[in-house]
């Protein structure tokens, strides 16, 4: 049933494109998989293209973009699934789009960023990926993904089905991922952050796993970068952080913050293996990188400079706030926080209470909160730890356009206006700012 599936999917794709219907990133694949449930496997078998799978809670899109940038510089042809289309149907759609009617795809690599829950499904169709990159695992949308150890268990089962031709690249600072990788017989390369990025003194509130994944005792941390990532060991059973590549690297000025340096290190590790380059040479391939949209994306609108930072879960949000130190330095600017509660954002906004929002005030003259949950966010911003004085202006404005106007009106700093937003909020802000910028 492969060819009928491909033809019909191609036709659906063509209709969507020519009639401008939208949903083009999932529907063709949905159709193909309906007719041939093993469509992805069949298409993969017809081609020599190698697969790189990217899994993790945060940083998938940026890391995919980084690896793509590096491989393309090396003259390799790369295809990848658009962000958000990270389920099996999204993967299938992307392959349909890039395939000829004969089922041929002209590409050296396919980089797939995968949803936490879709990983096992994709592995069941792509039996021998070249590389699998595990970035991190944080608490995110428990309403959708479920509990974290359930996720790891599922991943582990999927990994057990792979042959040794697959190499794992794993964040060695994440105990859960390390433990998982040790349960497989696959070759593993570990990366970790550099010493200078492990300055966190105490265990922060957004941690998810300070307990040993092997025996359940409390882990000892010698140094932490953020959330539960760091140098750790278990006194009880001896489980500890593995040997990792953690040398210092040249920064990429458009990607600031500890979390982005993890993404960079992950991408460099991948390039190091694929292109057989020294780490420093692999890093040079990333020069000239421009961030993916909404990920520290800089733009000009309303005669102001803006920087938009997608911040969608506690670990991600805390990292965005941390990055403000590097982005704005000591000078205060004006900061917008957009909290939506639609499906792509997660319908439960309780997690805002796990974020250290107090620290936003260190960087803000004015804070404007907006989005579907404007007032929940406003209450959060008003409720700081005991003893902290708020010297910034706080404005709650549910209409996004007006909220952005408040930011423009209040802005006098030489630093860009900063927007911290959940997914759909980020998209809306971009629409408004980009639309205006074109006029």
């Amino acid at each position: 049933m492969f060819y009928p599936a491909l033809f019909l999917a191609k036709f659906v794709d063509w209709c969507i494109q020519s009639l401008n219907l939208g949903a083009g990133s999932t529907w063709p694949g949905e159709v193909a998989l309906h007719i041939d449930p093993s469509f992805v496997r069949h298409l993969a078998q017809k081609n020599t293209m190698k697969f790189i799978l990217i899994v993790g809670t945060n940083g998938k899109t940026t890391t995919t973009a980084l690896i793509t940038h590096g491989l393309q510089k090396k003259g390799l042809k790369v295809i990848c699934n658009p962000e958000g289309a990270n389920l099996l149907n999204g993967v299938a759609s992307m392959l349909v789009k890039n395939s000829s009617l004969k089922g041929q795809i002209v590409s050296d690599y396919a980089i797939l960023e995968l949803d936490e829950n879709a990983f096992s499904q994709v592995i069941s169709q792509i039996h021998n990926p070249d590389l699998i990159l595990f970035l991190n695992l944080f608490r995110d949308q428990l309403d959708r993904y479920g509990e974290m150890h359930t996720i790891v268990k599922r991943w582990q089962r999927a990994l057990a089905s792979l042959s040794k031709s697959t190499t794992l690249i794993v964040n060695g600072d994440d105990p859960r991922l390390v433990y998982m990788s040790k349960q497989t017989a696959l070759p593993v390369v570990y990366f970790g952050s550099a010493k200078e990025d492990k300055s966190q003194k105490e265990i922060p509130h957004d941690v998810d796993s300070v307990h040993c994944p092997a025996c359940g005792s409390k882990l000892i941390y010698f140094a932490m970068s953020y959330s539960h990532l760091g140098d750790y060991a278990c006194r009880q059973c001896g489980f500890s952080a593995p040997e990792r590549w953690s040398d210092s690297l040249n920064l990429i000025p458009t990607l600031l913050g500890v979390y982005n340096r993890y993404n960079i290190r992950a991408a460099v590790s991948v390039l190091h293996i694929i292109c057989r380059l020294e780490f420093t040479e692999a890093r040079e391939l990333l020069d000239g990188f421009q961030p993916a949209f909404g990920r520290q994306e800089r733009l000009t609108a309303f005669r102001k400079e803006w920087i938009i930072i997608l911040s969608k879960n506690p670990a991600g949000f805390n990292q965005s706030i941390n990055a403000l130190d590097e982005i704005a330095g000591n000078e205060k600017t004006d900061i917008g926080i957009i909290l939506n509660d639609r499906i792509p954002d997660g319908t439960d906004v309780s997690w805002i209470w796990d974020v250290e929002f107090d620290r936003v005030y260190n960087h803000a003259s004015t804070v404007v909160v907006s989005g579907d949950r404007t007032y929940d966010m406003a209450i959060r911003m008003e409720t700081v730890e005991q003893g902290i004085k708020i010297n910034s202006k706080l404005i709650a404005e549910p209409t996004l356009k007006k909220a952005l106007e408040h930011l423009v009106d209040n802005h006098t700093s030489a630093q860009p206006i900063v927007i911290l937003a959940t997914y759909s909020g980020m998209m809306e802000v971009r629409k408004i700012l980009k639309g205006r910028a074109l006029l």
């Binding site: 509130h205 439960d348 309780s350 209470w353 404007t374 409720t383």
Partner: protein, 262 residues
């Protein structure tokens, strides 16, 4: 203002293990609210290093939710004298709030989807059962109406708003009373139309995360209760303007077409 006359020591159950999804919001908000009324607060973690005689200092107990593995670690520690100490505390009328998964641990027993039945502290006369992973979890925004007669003090706004996310279903025995009537959501078990449970001054409910920031009248209710139990004094609280709190509630109730006058 009742400047510095009162102090509340808050005992927080295993903050590192039992704060799955914004449960900390209750602590932050409660402390802020107390500060607004001029009441001092101190935070005392009830965790591994806590000993049962420290219960004496505690005026209010708060428990949040945890994921299964963390829950196991908690139950391994919350045993023997520590568990007895906690039960006595509730028996002696100490106000307590358990949200998210913690009421299950305070019940008589909890049967997880897979694995052995867990024996709870037995604070609440209640049994909880997880119907298995093939049965849908109870997830979504919630609204309830507090059953005033069951909690022993009036609240200024009896509508409670929250978010639930639980696999387990709880069934109340005769020794506890329900906390609220379900208006939106599943409640304790998706069947009987009740949310949460009350025993003496302890209240449990499945609402998780920031329950008090969404429901300041419940925060006030607890403050009054605690002062009454600790100092044997009835206090009136001059409610702050609560501009954002009122707006937040108004926006959500409107979104769900629920009018506050039921």
């Amino acid at each position: 203002m009742i400047e510095n006359k009162f102090k509340i020591n808050i005992g927080w159950l295993y903050p590192e293990l039992m704060s799955t999804y914004g449960d900390r919001g209750n602590i932050l908000y409660f402390r802020r609210r107390c500060a607004q009324y001029g009441i001092k607060t101190e935070l005392i973690p009830i965790d591994f290093s806590f000993t049962e005689n420290q219960f004496e200092e505690i005026d209010f107990i708060f428990g949040g939710g945890s994921q299964d593995i963390e829950q196991e670690l908690v139950m391994r520690d919350l045993q023997g004298k520590k568990a007895e100490g906690m039960k006595n505390k509730i028996e002696n009328n100490t106000p307590a709030l358990f949200v998210c998964g913690s009421p299950q641990l305070m019940g008589k027993s909890y049967e997880p989807g897979i694995g052995k039945k867990i024996i709870g502290l037995g604070v609440f006369d209640m049994e909880s059962v997880h119907p298995g992973s093939n049965v849908a979890r109870c997830i979504g925004n919630t609204v309830g109406e507090v059953l005033m007669g069951n909690i022993g003090l009036p609240v200024s706004d009896k509508l409670i708003i929250g978010f639930e996310n639980h696999g387990g279903r709880s069934y109340l025995g005769t020794g506890v009373k329900p906390f609220a009537k379900v208006i939106k959501g599943y409640g304790n078990n998706g069947k009987d139309g009740y949310e949460g449970m009350v025993y003496k001054n302890a209240i449990g409910c499945y609402y998780h995360g920031p329950f008090l920031p969404k429901n300041p009248s419940i925060a006030d209710f607890f403050i009054k209760k605690i002062i009454r139990v600790k100092y044997d004094e009835k206090i009136e609280l001059k409610q702050p303007p609560d501009i954002f709190e009122k707006k937040a509630r108004e926006v959500l109730l409107k979104r769900w077409n629920i009018t506050s006058a039921l």
